[in-house]
Assembly symmetry: C2
Homo-oligomer: 144 residues x 2
């Protein structure tokens, strides 16, 4: 299964000259904690709520006057849409990141995968399995 099926597609994205305040507004609108930083469709970096805290607030920078290009993480850790969910999760844990931009062979940003996407998908799967088991026990099981 392609990771794009559980990622945010299209991903929230901003240009490098977007202000931090505007990027925060984009994250709030999308209900996400990270945006891709994109120039002509090419991924240049990632900007997250962790960056807002550590590179803007902690450094006494002004959210109105600071550009995302100055405080983003670049290059970003990325992943191919053909990787497995498990590989993506291990990659996130090992690199201490909560988001992985999904990038095509052409360097274009195609989606944004979060730990939350992976966990919610896994919980949904478990819920489906439990539901199937319930159905089995109600209809075809040993009864009782």
């Amino acid at each position: 299964m392609s990771l794009l099926k559980i990622a945010s597609v299209p991903p929230a994205a901003v240009a490098p000259d977007t202000t931090v305040l505007e990027a925060v507004e984009v994250m709030a609108e999308h209900g996400v904690g990270a945006v891709g930083v994109v120039d002509n469709g090419q991924l240049r970096g990632i900007f997250t709520e962790r960056d807002v805290m550590l590179r803007v607030v902690l450094r006494h920078r002004s959210p109105q006057d600071t550009r995302v290009g100055e405080v983003m993480t670049s290059p970003a850790e990325t992943i191919s849409d053909e990787a497995s969910e498990e590989d993506a999760l291990v990659h996130m844990v090992e690199h201490h990141v909560r988001h992985l931009p999904i990038v095509g062979a052409d360097g274009q940003l195609k989606g944004m995968l979060s730990v939350r996407n992976l966990l919610e998908h896994r919980v949904d799967e478990l819920a489906r399995e439990l539901h199937s088991l319930d159905q089995y026990l109600a209809n075809d099981g040993p009864g009782g």
Copy 2:
């Protein structure tokens, strides 16, 4: 196994009248994304990097002049140290939180459990299992 064994203990914590900037400094020192807000040892709420972004930066509040007590999440979702890792993870996914303060029967904050704690512990366990399997194949296995 007690969840306290994989959580941050003692947890990063601040008083309600701490400024947002001071709380961010505490989170940066501890390398974490959330602090417990504690009054006389009793948990009053939780303050996270998501709150920094959405309740401070997005709302044009000053990190120097805003108190954590004004922008924390209260009451916080909490968990008992006797819950299972799986229950904790499902609780986090369902409640859309990345941190769960571990609170004793007396309301005292004992630790802070993060999604990262749970995932790192799981990855460590898998690595140990793989190592045991390697040892088995090298020493006691069918050979080759």
